[in-house]
């Protein structure tokens, strides 16, 4: 894959949650798998994440959340995604996401949910098969 055609992934840390071990592990795994990765750093607001996705023209918006506020955050981000015309981006989330919340997140528009215990190769495979040539 040439540099220009590389799939670009934004890994964002929403809200006040300071747990970044998982986000950095996933970011590194994605880099090792050949993706272009931008990590937002901690404590980003929904508009900062949407702005970053827009500016960087990311193909994938990945969020990492371990402090429980994922539904509130994704609901707010959803509005901005629509507003900024980012609907076509692949949108995934990982972290401490209980099963009981998966339905609500799917409804908001999340394409993939990777709770604690997910395997890195599954994340890589999901992104690979849902991006790139022939994909929305």
């Amino acid at each position: 894959m040439s540099g220009a055609n590389k799939i670009k992934i934004l890994i964002g840390k929403p809200g006040l949650d300071g747990h970044d071990v998982g986000a950095k592990i996933v970011a590194r795994a994605l880099i090792d798998a050949g993706f272009d990765v931008i990590y937002s750093g901690l404590r980003k607001t929904p508009s900062e994440i949407a702005q970053l996705a827009l500016e960087e023209d990311a193909d994938v918006i990945g969020l990492s959340s371990l402090a429980g506020s994922h539904i509130e955050f994704c609901t707010k981000l959803k509005g901005l995604i629509d507003q900024y015309g980012l609907k076509e981006k692949l949108w995934v989330i990982g972290g401490c996401i209980p099963k009981q919340d998966h339905g609500a997140l799917k409804e908001i528009g999340l394409d993939g949910i990777f709770p604690n215990g997910s395997r890195l190769e599954d994340i890589v495979d999901f992104i690979s098969s849902n991006t790139g040539p022939g994909q929305a």
Binding site: L16, G18, V21, G41, A67, G68, S69, P98, L120
Partner: protein, 529 residues
Amino acid sequence: MDGSGAKKVVNESGIEIQPLYGPEDVEQSGGTGFLGDPGGYPFTRGIHKEMYRKRPWTMRQYAGFGNPAETNQRFKYLIENGQTGLNVAFDLPTQTGLDSDNVLAEGEVGRVGMAIDSLRDFEIAFDGIDLDKITVSLTINGAAAILIAMYLAMAEKRGYDLSQLRGTAQNDILKEFIGRGTWVFPVEPSIKLVGDTIEYCAEHAPKYSPVSVCGYHIRESGCNPAEEMAYAFCIAKAYADDVIGRGLHVDEFAGRLSYNFNLFGNLFEQVAKFRAGRGLWAKIIKEDYGAEDPRSMWLRMIAGGGGGGLTFEQPEVNIMRGAYYALISALSGTQTMALCSYDEAYTIPTEYSARISLRTMQLLMDEMGLCDTVDPLAGSYYVETLTNQMREKMEAVMAEVEAEGGIVEMVKDGRIQAKVSKQAYDMHRDIESGAFPKVGVNRYRIEEEDEHEVEFHPYNLKDAEMQIESLRRVRSRRDGAEASAGLTRIRGAAEAGENVMPAMVDATVGEITDALVEVYGRYQEPIRF
């Protein structure tokens, strides 16, 4: 493989483990000259002569959620169940210096801990709890100077004599930059604020421990056990240097420095880590800092948690992991324990899971004989050899940090963050491949697990709304001119480079934070991993 066909075993700190140890191994590793007696320099065997025989470890489960009134109920439940200390969890807005009605706090008020906006909240949280009988540990870092001032003001208002008040604040900001992430101000002023609290407490609350230096979270973020302790010592030295730079003598404050360490991993490596660390810290503070008071040399610690070792898979197995972590802690001569509850990978512990953690510690104390004798593993050829080797490893790590320009510089440009996060990645890869064994994860796995074993702690939006209402009431009822004059005094003290603690006023956490941000600015995270 060696000739005997035995597999090569290397512990996480990089020490090769032999199949058998004898007296010659102890001698070769440095002998027993650095042991001393319990209660005597270098304190390898324990900081007290009689240890648990005289006073068992304090049981201090981490707790707090919703508003102060709800948390007060949980505190009382834990005390009724035999808990002997409190360990306060604050919500993320409080930890990052935001008031509950700040737009950035939306959805996070009272979620992972209790919301505290003002002195009034502290009064509610500790209502009916005797602060002489139950010591309180505040898990607060970025906003620590403010919350310590508030806690002391609350105690004073209730009539406690500050010169006798005991308690602890975590207040270790350097580790927050490496892991955990509740920083507010840039690195230099953050260290200065820690120095302010140490200096202030040395004078006004000499029995209060203003800092608990945490190797714990750096270990959670990826480093190995020897590095965990070595990095903690580097950080403690950075704070000590700040305070000594103000003209204090080491014996005026070092006795009130405390530590927080992790427990997960290999049992013997962990026990050796604690014994080695005690000796090394005593040596540093005596030889490098010229301490004369033995109390200054004590490695006083809370050793609990072990969250990084617990698994999302088969969560009930974490009950057994927790029990072994508690055993490690007791065998290591810790002063305080706080066990992670088995459901912590999912949620805030329920009353039920918090009680299981308490009972785990009580079993060791009352049934298993862990309090009967001091340093029970001493004299084991293996443990003594490993203790010497772990001390050597820690010294090597500290020398490396020095050679790289010191821990503060490494934090500032993100070098240490990058190093630790690479280790976390490598470990994660090893767990996924099965190279590093994890029961229930890469062996004895149950596919298609459901979550029925875990009861989720509900998040109650009503509590957050009540908290915001109560904050607005506090603001509307106070003398606004006095509060704003107070904030001006805080800004003035910060601008003049003075200790800000005496200027702390009865304003809200967010208001005081904002006043300090105006002078110090905000931390900009180096993105390096």
